[in-house]
């Protein structure tokens, strides 16, 4: 593998934003026909580096060599001309157009379309990759995994032989991920080179030939996968040892803080999502909700938070009927913290600053507002305090939240929701898209809350995480809880059966 | 344009008209400025006044100026600015200028402020046609030609001048067809041709077979609709070949007369009313107007002239 010639070489790449060095003297060598991973926490500078390679940013220093020749890449078209294609985390597609139209869209040098010819060639390419794609299907009807394939096809259609994939699995379901791995291996077999950007250790271990680990804008290590372990990678990535096993004392269970009694609710399309769901969370325990995505987890969290109305049943928080309390009253009066699943769309106002987001749910009440006037001084002081205690990395509290990494964004939400000592904490997919360091932080925070006597409802699709953190597990299936057991008695097999709807005898 | 001038002779100004021929272009010609609500190319009210302004320039050697499309909000602004620039006569074209004219006249006592087709106003010279007389005449012709017994008048907005025209029109029409019906419609836009056409179709579908538009540029739509559906039009603010007959409220002529009076220091800040006094204030009859209807109309002119028929003031 090392003997193969380098497809792309970076030498001492520097990219500055103001005084901040997003990439600091980054060098790496990508062998032709290999899968090369770039591993790093959020904010390590991976995306910046990719944007430099793809011509979206221009480096402030250093050289780029493509097939051994020095090149200057100032826009994506030049990158394409060098055979470099990129698949972004969020696809650049026109949903109403068909597959073939999306693929040929923006092809240079085309005045007259010959879609029949394109159709034929797309089919050929798809066959070569072992995927079945109907070139005439409109984009929006395709599952997300297939859309991603189209995106890759688009690059191959432009004769890209080096594919940059930015967090490609973050949008995929577990089954889609498996199929995706097969596809990547096929691409490698066909002699193409893949640059995989990710923060997921297991992906790197499963797929890559070599890995470059980045931290704080610098290359920390470049390793052969064959010669490393996940633990070593995690340590290099985070800069210290990561504890994979979290020790926790047996719970000191108190009074119920959340009681759901036969609640029923519909989803956004008006289709039934919760069908008489009942559960109880007690103070001082973590109840994990296990289930395959789309069985009502999102609706459950929203119903408890007061963001989705229930048509039947009763929700009691700390013994008090929650109906009639809006989301912010549930926080301030009923002492419920809520970490929503989609932190960017729901949990934060990305266009406001850190300080304001720290009080997003409480800015209308004293001490932050009095007689309708808002007190920014207090809000800022409050934020400075929280940022320090929750180790939020930033330049100042007046920074826009949009410019922060996912982990820091989640820390803001956690800080805000935990700060006024809730009795109940509902967290939905709190570790989605976070790197190991941030995941560990989230889990430690939740455990600390539990130890203080808070009842935690932990909804996640990461079974491993729940087994690690939760005291008790409940399985949700088609909008109902169909099984309930202490974490100590839970096994993957038992849970797996329940998750597919087979109740235990 | 000369045709316009020829088409009207006004009794009130007969003497001045004679003087006009005798003493063309004076050395100290007054500077005249006009504020217009529409475009000078509308082949109706605005163009008519513009023609008058050009005639003033030609005949008195006046320096002239005008502003088109003056919105309501800027009437005072525009007229005051002309007054400040030393224009001797500042004209507002249409009744909507009455209020603005009053204010400008109060602020600039040395300036003569005229409103054409406006209500009597303190400090302002207003010049009006006796609207019912002209309406009556057209009503008579419409009554003679209408087969359905339904005719219609069409304007953009409801206001006194038009109401008076319609009153006369109705009386004239019903003097021929006592059971006849006069429809009235408003389009809310003086210049929108399509809207006027649409409204005309609507009136035609209600059996109206003679239409009287009281519009600026939008009159074209009424004539188009009438031609397409084979019905007739009569003209009051516009002249067109297709009209059965046109009674022209000739404000160009009125403006020339006013400037002339001003030259002789005789123009007063009062309301001048121009009556229908001559066959010449009517255009030619079209071939669709039968001989006996023409006679009837000319009789009416005589009756109005002699004072046998009297309307309003």
């Amino acid at each position: 593998m090392t003997a193969a010639p380098a497809r792309l070489t970076l030498e001492g790449i520097v990219k500055r934003f103001g005084t901040f060095r997003a990439n600091d003297n980054v060098s790496l060598k990508i062998a032709k026909g290999s899968i090369h991973a770039i591993l790093g926490e959020n904010g390590a500078g991976k995306s910046t580096l990719m944007n430099v390679i793809y011509g979206l940013y221009e480096q402030d220093g250093g050289r780029i060599l493509s097939n051994g020749k020095e090149v200057r890449i100032t826009d994506p078209r030049e990158a394409m001309a060098l055979g470099i294609g990129m698949v972004h985390q969020h696809f650049k597609q026109v949903n109403t157009m068909s597959v073939v139209e999306n693929v040929v869209l923006g092809l240079p040098g085309r005045q007259i379309l010959n879609l029949d010819e394109d159709r034929r060639r797309i089919k050929e390419l798809a066959d070569e990759l072992g995927s079945e794609i109907d070139p005439d299907q409109p984009m929006w009807t395709l599952p997300i995994g297939t859309q991603q394939r189209v995106e890759i096809l688009k690059m191959l259609y432009r004769d890209a032989d080096l594919l940059i994939l930015d967090e490609p699995t973050s949008v995929l379901t577990p089954t889609e991920i498996k199929a995706f791995f097969v596809l990547l291996e096929k691409l490698r077999e066909s002699g193409r080179t893949i640059l995989l950007i990710t923060h997921k250790l297991d992906e790197v271990m499963d797929l890559a030939d070599r890995v470059t680990v980045m931290r704080l804008g610098r290359v920390e290590a470049e390793l052969e996968i064959a010669n490393t372990t996940p633990r070593e990678l995690a340590r290099v990535m985070v800069g210290r040892d990561v504890v994979f096993d979290i020790q926790h004392a047996p719970p000191k269970v108190g009074d119920p803080v959340l009681e759901l009694d036969e609640i029923t609710a519909v989803d956004d399309r008006g289709i039934g999502a919760l069908h008489g769901l009942s559960l109880t969370v007690r103070g001082g325990e973590i109840l994990g909700i296990v289930g395959i995505d789309g069985n009502g987890q999102g609706e459950l969290a929203e119903a408890i938070a007061g963001l989705r109305s229930i048509s039947q049943g009763r929700i009691a928080i700390c013994g008090q009927d929650a109906s009639g309390f809006d989301p912010s009253e549930r926080k301030s009066v009923l002492k419920m913290g809520y970490v929503p699943e989609d932190r960017q769309k729901v949990g934060l106002d990305l266009d406001s600053d850190i300080a304001f987001n720290m009080v997003l749910r409480s800015f209308r009440a004293p001490p932050f507002s009095k007689y309708g006037w808002i007190d920014f001084k207090k809000i800022r002081a409050h934020a400075v305090d929280l940022a320090e205690r929750y180790d939020i990395r930033m330049q100042s509290v007046s920074q826009r939240v949009r410019d922060l990494s996912g982990g820091n964004q989640q820390k803001i939400i956690l800080a805000r929701e935990i700060e006024d000592n809730p009795k109940l904490l509902v967290v939905a997919q709190p570790t989605k898209g976070l790197d190991v360091g941030a995941i560990e932080f989230v889990q430690r925070t939740l455990l600390a809350q539990r130890d203080q006597g808070t009842g935690v409802l932990y909804i996640s699709s990461e079974l491993e995480e729940l087994l690690l953190v939760a005291d008790r597990l409940a399985v949700i299936f088609k909008g109902r809880i169909i099984g309930d057991m202490p974490a100590s008695e839970a096994t993957s097999e038992k849970l797996g059966l329940l998750m597919t709807g087979r109740e235990l005898a | 344009m000369m045709k316009h001038l020829k088409s009207a002779i006004v009794a009130t100004f007969t003497a001045s008209a004679a003087a006009l021929v005798a003493f063309p272009a004076l050395a100290d010609a007054p500077r005249v400025a006009v504020a217009l609500p529409g475009m000078v190319t509308d082949r109706a009210f605005n163009e008519n006044i513009y023609d008058g302004l050009v005639a003033v320039e030609e005949q008195f050697g006046s320096e002239i100026a005008y502003t088109e499309n003056v919105s309501q909000a800027t009437q005072v602004e525009v007229m005051s600015d002309y007054a400040r620039r030393g224009y001797d006569i500042v004209v507002g074209s249409g009744g909507e200028y009455t209020d603005a004219a009053e204010r400008v006249a109060a602020n600039f006592p040395d300036t003569t402020v005229i409103v054409l087709n406006g209500a009597p106003t303190e400090g302002v010279t207003t010049i009006n046609y006796n609207n019912p007389e002209f309406g009556y005449l057209l009503g008579v012709v419409a009554g003679g030609v209408s087969e359905t017994g339904v005719v219609a008048a069409l304007s953009a907005q409801k206001f006194a001048a038009f109401d008076n025209v319609v009153d006369g029109f109705r009386q004239g029409f019903q003097s021929v067809q006592p059971d006849g019906e006069v429809l009235v419609a408003f389009t809310n836009d003086w210049a929108d041709v399509a809207l006027a056409k649409e409204a005309s179709f609507n009136l035609i579908s209600k059996k109206a077979d003679v239409l009287m538009p009281y519009l600026d540029g939008a009159w074209v739509g009424v004539v188009q609709a009438a031609q397409e559906r084979g019905v007739h039009t009569v003209g009051i603010l516009h002249e067109s070949e297709s009209n059965l007959v046109s009674a022209r409220l000739d404000f160009a002529r009125a403006l020339v007369m006013a400037v002339d009076l001003h030259q002789k220091d005789e123009l007063e800040a009062k309301d001048y009313v121009i009556h229908l006094t001559s066959r010449d204030q009517l255009g030619d009859f079209s071939v669709d107007v039968p001989e006996e209807v023409q006679t009837m109309a000319l009789d009416a002119v005589e009756k109005i002239k002699s004072g046998e028929l009297k309307f309003g003031d």
Binding site: L307, R364 | T67, A73, G95
Partner: protein, 367 residues
């Protein structure tokens, strides 16, 4: 080392200058627009220098011109605010024109029918409240439809403008018209209700100052009050707003109504300050021009004051230019379009300190 710090200091000073140049990009855009306009004037056979001199003198340097400019500014500014407030909540109010008309109607009715024993100034305040209420209620309709039925507010607010304009015509014809009026307008309001003029012999009425005060109040509301913050959160992110416990529906209606109240005030002042009657078709599209004001001001209520003065000056100066030089006023309509275009293009220029730092370094290197 010391020479390096010296260079750094010079570079950062230069960067500050460049940053300021970028901050003034709207000004540059206007200048570019005027230069392009000059070409048009030349092509039309005019003298641009003479024309622009007449324009700016007529709008900003002459006593009467300043009066006219301020009179024109008042409805433009208030219409601009009518657009800005809902847009801060992410809602497009394209119907300020209708809100102006309804506000004027309410104010006129109040002016004509409020009992005469009340002192004039109290009645003026009541008229203003009535106008604001009328505009606010009219604007609340698209707000309510948006909040509770999801109807596109751009379409409803726009179409309601036409309804309002025709409604005024109908109300005038049926009820308020002064008998024998030469034009569809209402009876005159009482002398005691006419807004005081603060520049003698011009039409500059105190409504202008109220409009300035309104702009400042809107700025304070947006930036210093809980309500303003709530509105902006809704504008940023509706999901996060619900999560924060804000009633998106209520704020949608409220921001629309507040915008409408501004439009209503604009209409009120046209009646109480300028025309002293309700005229049919009195507004020459102030509502639509309010969108331009909001855009030029980048949704900043204080900026809107300057944007409105500029636009008003352009329009007033256009008249002066035409009357002084014979250059057609349509040229100014074109100029106004050019300004909007150039400002829009200007928005695309963003200050990148890095890029400039590199450029400066390159220049230094060449020296």
């Amino acid at each position: 080392m010391s020479s390096e710090t010296l260079t750094d200091a010079r570079t950062s000073r230069l960067l500050t200058v460049i940053r300021v140049i970028y901050m003034l990009k709207t000004v540059w855009a206007v200048i570019v627009a005027l230069l392009i306009g000059a070409i048009f004037i030349l092509l039309a056979g005019g003298d641009p220098i003479e024309g622009y001199t007449a324009l700016f003198k007529g709008a900003f340097l002459d006593y009467w011109g300043i009066g006219d400019t301020l009179v024109r500014m008042s409805p433009l500014l208030l219409a601009g605010l009518a657009v800005i407030i809902p847009l801060r909540a992410g809602l497009f109010n394209i119907g300020a024109e209708g809100q102006i008309y309804i506000g004027a109607l309410f104010a006129t009715i109040a002016a004509l029918y409020l009992p005469g024993f009340l002192p004039g100034w109290i009645r003026i305040i009541l008229c203003m409240m009535a106008g604001a209420l009328g505009g606010g209620m009219w604007a609340a309709i698209p707000g309510l439809l948006k909040a509770y039925r999801g109807t596109n507010e751009i379409i409803t607010s726009l179409l309601l403008s036409y309804v309002a304009i025709y409604l005024i015509g109908a109300v005038l014809h049926a009820w308020l018209i002064e008998p024998g009026a030469p034009y569809p307008y209402s009876r005159e309001i009482d002398k005691s209700l006419e807004l005081p003029i603060f520049m003698p012999r011009t039409q500059a009425h105190v409504g202008i100052m109220v409009a300035w005060a309104a702009a400042i109040l809107v700025a304070v509301m947006l930036w210093r009050t809980t309500l303003g913050q709530a509105i902006q959160v809704v504008g940023h992110n509706k999901h996060a707003s619900s999560y924060a416990g804000l009633s998106v529906k209520r704020l949608t209606v409220l921001s629309f109504a507040m915008g409408g109240a501004m439009g209503g005030l604009a209409g009120t002042f046209e009646v109480l300050g300028l025309k002293y009657r309700l005229f049919d078709h009195f507004s020459p599209g102030y509502g639509m021009q309010g969108i331009i004001v909001a855009f030029l001001a980048a949704l900043n209520p204080i900026g809107a004051i300057f944007a409105a003065i500029f636009l008003a000056g352009l329009q007033v100066g256009a008249g002066s230019m035409q009357r002084a030089t014979g250059i057609d006023t349509t040229m100014v309509a074109a100029l106004q379009g050019l300004v909007v275009l150039c400002v829009a293009v200007g928005l695309a220029f963003k200050f990148h300190p890095d890029r400039w730092r590199r450029r400066i370094a390159a220049w230094r290197g060449n020296e």
